[in-house]
């Protein structure tokens, strides 16, 4: 009797002729996430089996799998031969000794002498003989014992379905560049897009010496947490200190955030095109803060020449974002009190509805290209 893990994939089964391509990416991602743990992955029709791992690693494997996009659900199962005695032993192993239960059988191997109803009845009957406190309830059972008779002469017995991360395998939907700030929102935005199969690279802007090294460390930690879902990533770090100083010196202070965001977008687009990303992703949520109004977005979008900007959190409330942030495990890091962009330069009354022509007029006071080029020179790339 061997312990195995059954993995069922999510949307991939809806794919047509290109299903094989998705399956290959999915398998590679699982391999990546289980790196360093002894195991074998085998593909069967519509599912994968992880076999030949040590029992002590089961929890670790389950934890890693919970972060692989494309998995609909997974179960820890006992693998036995096509033999009723062995199947019963496995069922006894996974069964509780009291409560309401039922047995469900799937018979892929139609040559098996008993049909699925008969297998369920037989196993259920033997379990009832074995444990006095057990009772059958096919409508509202406390637990279900599943028996899966495969075509290759094996039977899988299990009692639990764990919900997977869902979505599409990362890498199947291209690549995006996530603007990550160190706050609560951007990691959630990255997670949502990665869930739909996009691989991520991240970019962070800092204003050292106005901000400190802990702020950068926090972003590195967040990116690491996010990379568990994306099978690794890269973090680009760019200094916008001089840009902030120039805006502060030459422009109307109320436009600081609006103008700075335009610079960030310009720099991000340049880096995205260089690293092969096909879109920018931000954690903006409509009307959350002064700069995240539709006018603010118009202003920052207007400097982007070639790429779309995805804002998956636009329709979310803050508490919904926090809930997701807790669920993906980035919240605790996000709320550490280090700032990404210095508050020294923040205006008391930032422009909330910037008019594009006014913004452009303000921006004329700056040598935009030179500042962008200078910022790009400060680029530091960290492999996560």
């Amino acid at each position: 009797m061997e312990q195995v893990i059954i993995i069922r994939y999510a949307e991939i089964h809806l794919k047509g002729k290109n299903r094989g391509w998705f399956e290959r990416i999915f398998a590679v991602n699982m391999e990546k996430s289980l790196k360093g743990i002894r195991h074998e992955i085998h593909r069967y029709s519509g599912r994968y089996l992880i076999e030949n791992f040590s029992d002590g690693d089961t929890d670790l494997i389950l934890n890693r799998l919970s972060k692989v996009f494309g998995i609909h659900s997974y179960s820890v199962a006992l693998k036995v031969g096509h033999d009723m005695e062995q199947i019963f032993c496995a069922a006894k192993e996974v069964s509780c000794d009291s409560g309401l239960f039922k047995v469900e059988t799937h018979r892929a191997d139609k040559k098996f002498p008993l049909n699925s109803m008969q297998v369920s009845a037989e196993i259920g009957g033997r379990l009832l003989d074995c444990y006095e406190q057990l009772k059958v309830d096919v409508h509202n059972p406390d637990f279900i014992i599943n028996v899966d008779l495969r075509e290759n002469g094996t039977a899988l017995v299990f009692n639990k379905f764990y919900k997977g991360a869902g979505g599409m395998p990362v890498g199947a939907s291209g690549k995006g560049l996530l603007l990550i700030s160190g706050g609560i929102d951007s990691p959630v935005a990255g997670h949502m897009i990665a869930k739909r199969g996009m691989s991520l690279e991240c970019i962070h802007f800092h204003s050292y010496p106005y901000t400190n090294m802990q702020a950068k460390e926090k972003v590195i930690d967040l990116t690491k947490q996010l990379s568990e879902y994306t099978c690794g990533t890269k973090l680009n770090v760019v200094s916008v200190t001089h840009i902030q100083e120039e805006i502060h010196k030459k422009c109307n202070g109320d436009f600081m955030v609006t103008l700075l965001r335009r610079f960030m977008m310009r720099i991000a687009e340049k880096i995205a095109l260089k690293c092969g990303a096909q879109c920018l992703i931000t954690g903006e949520s409509l009307a959350q803060v002064a700069s995240q109004t539709v006018e603010g977005m118009t202003s920052s979008n207007s400097v982007i020449e070639r790429l779309p900007v995805l804002r998956p959190l636009c329709g979310f409330d803050k508490d919904e974002i926090i809930e997701r942030s807790r669920a993906i495990g980035t919240y605790e890091t996000s709320i550490q009190p280090y700032e990404d962009c210095c508050t020294v330069f923040l205006p008391r009354h930032p422009v909330t509805r910037p008019k594009l022509n006014e913004v452009i007029e303000e921006e004329k006071k700056l040598d935009v290209n030179a500042l962008v080029e200078e910022a790009l020179k400060s680029l530091e790339v960290i492999n996560i």
Binding site: P337, Y338, E339
Partner: protein
């Protein structure tokens, strides 16, 4: 690299680590053990205890409990000293005392907090008005760790005892021990000292306790340190502490005068157009607190670091005012702009006048440059 953040920690004295090395490897026994090898270490600890204590107090009237750090000693004083009535302390306390009394407050005890003068010393009149017959513990920092202000703890203790003879008087002397000349008077019941602020190793402090004072332990266990602080003693750290302390006190007055002079040279060199002084002549010469009003302290700290000068600051990069500004500095009565630009430059016995002079030049350049950029 010029290191002028000695109030945070002092560069360790290499020779005292060498002198104590044998307690790491060959003399590794448990000092509570009954065999001769262990017993000898017990004697070594006893010697260290007396030697350190003797530097600032009469060993017949005081005893010394080794702890893991100054914070632990402060916590023991607060949590084991305040058992009923109210607790009186000041806004100028180190977090080791201030957070501890806040916890007492959360647990339902009455906590009274005295205001500060402009240099960070306690407002004596206000402080004494808070002490009454129900006060069980008083805690006043000896030398403020942010501004260097020196509180006259002997005088305060006397006045407190005159109002309430049963109140325990504790003082955190981490920034005073091994730096400024003083002796503990019999009205002081508890006093905290620490090794790494005078060149010893981190992870070693002590609580000095007046003899015959009944205090409960803070950490329970095997009954080490006269039942006052359980846990196997760190003989190596204690012996390092002893060596350092003896050395510091050998030349205490001489070093004190030298640092006074360095302090004068440094403050004279600082551009008064750029910096406002918070510390005064009455403060400990080891600490200079200034504000580069209009430029955030942390910005200067990073730039100074890049220019080869390490200093401390009183503000952090946070939009949360509570976290951003130093509670002590705000209590000195300055506005937020001043509080935002606070820098702490602190000297040690090893600091030279050249270093101080160079540091002042670096700071002048950085702040001038930064003020121009932000104008």
């Amino acid at each position: 690299m010029i290191y002028l953040d000695n109030a945070a920690t002092v560069k360790p004295d290499e020779w005292c680590f060498k002198a104590a090395e044998k307690y790491l490897l060959s003399q590794f026994y448990n000092p509570s053990a009954l065999y001769a090898e262990g017993y000898n270490l017990h004697l070594e600890l006893k010697q260290a205890r007396e030697n350190i204590l003797g530097l600032i107090a009469d060993t017949r009237n005081f005893s010394l409990i080794f702890t893991s750090c100054g914070t632990e000693a402060d916590n023991q004083a607060v949590f084991c000293g305040a058992r009923r009535g109210n607790v009186v302390t000041t806004l100028g306390e180190h977090a080791a005392v201030f957070s501890a009394v806040n916890e007492l407050k959360r647990r339902g005890q009455e906590v009274r907090i005295a205001n500060l003068n402009a240099d960070g010393s306690v407002d004596e009149e206000h402080f004494l008005s808070l002490v009454d017959k129900n006060t069980s513990l008083v805690s006043v920092i000896h030398v403020n760790n942010e501004t260097g202000a020196v509180n006259d703890i002997a005088g305060l203790a006397q006045k407190v005892k005159a109002k309430n003879g049963f109140a325990l008087f504790h003082s955190d002397g981490v920034q005073a021990f091994g730096k400024i000349p003083f002796r503990l008077t019999h009205q002081i019941d508890l006093y905290t000292i620490n090794a790494h602020k005078i060149g010893g190793i981190k992870g070693c402090g002590a609580l000095i306790k007046r003899k015959n004072l009944v205090l409960s332990p803070y950490i329970y266990g095997g009954g080490q340190e006269q039942e006052m602080r359980s846990g196997t003693e760190n003989v190596y750290a204690v012996k390092c502490f002893e060596h350092c302390a003896l050395q510091r006190y050998k030349e205490l007055e001489k070093t004190y005068d030298k640092i006074r002079e360095i302090n004068r040279i440094f403050t004279a060199k600082l551009d008064k157009q750029l910096f406002g002084l918070i510390s005064t002549d009455k403060c400990s010469p080891y600490i200079v607190c200034v504000s580069a009003e209009g430029v955030r302290g942390e910005t200067i700290l990073h730039e100074a670091d890049d220019s080869g000068l390490i200093i401390g600051t009183g503000s952090a990069c946070s939009s949360n005012a509570k976290k951003r500004f130093s509670r002590v500095i705000l209590a000195c009565g300055v506005n937020e702009t001043v509080a935002d630009g606070i820098l702490r430059i602190s000297f040690s016995h090893a600091t030279t006048a050249e270093e101080a002079l160079r540091a002042a030049e670096i700071l002048n350049t950085i702040v001038k440059n930064r003020k121009e950029k932000m104008a």
